[in-house]
Amino acid sequence: MADANAAHSTFVIERPLAGSPRHAFRFWADAALKQRWISCHPDWTQLDYSLDFRAGGGEISRTRSPDGAEHGVTARYLDIVEGRRIVYAYDMTVDALRISASLATVLFIPTGTGTLMQFTEQLALLDGSTDAKGRRDGSEIGFERLALELERDLATLQ
């Protein structure tokens, strides 16, 4: 019989952002804008992306890494307060294996000069996730993507 265990963890990331909460919120709500910052892997092929940004709606992303593995992220939006709060559940898969399931809460808190974005993830790490493929997921990150994005933006400005 296969094991079916989980390990749990919660983490919080706080980010001061230049711009109003309304501005920050746009980058989560608009599919084209979100795709520009969410993906970690410039060398992965996007197979599928859809965003239905409303409570009860969902988000699906499927990508293929150079080793041929298919990576899936499926989210469901549970609560949205325009410009202020997003609560969603999401899971991550590598091929047929589900590696994690999470509840994420994003708060956009106005500050004098901009926005404090508070991201909380309550994460269930599912077993099987630490096998060779799961471990590779997200491990080949660097600044290439950021550099590419900056180049593109500079090109746009020129």
Partner: protein
């Protein structure tokens, strides 16, 4: 994917199994703050000593805690590095988010705000 095709790590399977029980997670939580006797671990959980010992046995077999006996008291402590794999995985997830948020910050700065409606 058939189960045998998932190149699973037997050490991690033991770790997951050891942490699958809420009593054992409570014990790990307590021990991560410092060593404790069986009695000190059993009482807050409302466990009888034999049950507590059984759970501690699973944690010890899973390589998460170690124990030593001094006189009539057995003291448990965390095995250093036992949770490193899970911690590394969570740290990776946090790094991914931080890198995405770096890009978000850049992109926001380079995009004009929409006028108020």
């Amino acid at each position: 994917l058939p189960p045998d095709a998932q190149m699973s790590d037997p050490g991690l399977d033991r770790l997951f199994q050891a942490l699958a029980d809420p009593y054992r997670r409570g014990m790990v939580d307590q021990l991560s703050r410092g060593p404790a006797s069986v009695k000190a671990l059993a009482e807050p959980a409302g466990l009888a000593l034999p049950s507590a010992l059984k759970h501690l046995g699973v944690l010890e077999a899973g390589g998460i805690v170690v124990s030593e006996k001094s006189g009539r008291v057995r003291t448990y402590r965390m095995q250093p590095g036992a949770l490193a794999d899970i911690e590394a995985w969570v740290a990776q997830r946090q790094r991914n988010w931080n890198q995405s948020f770096d890009r978000l910050d850049q992109l926001m700065a380079q995009t004009p705000e929409l006028p108020e409606e």
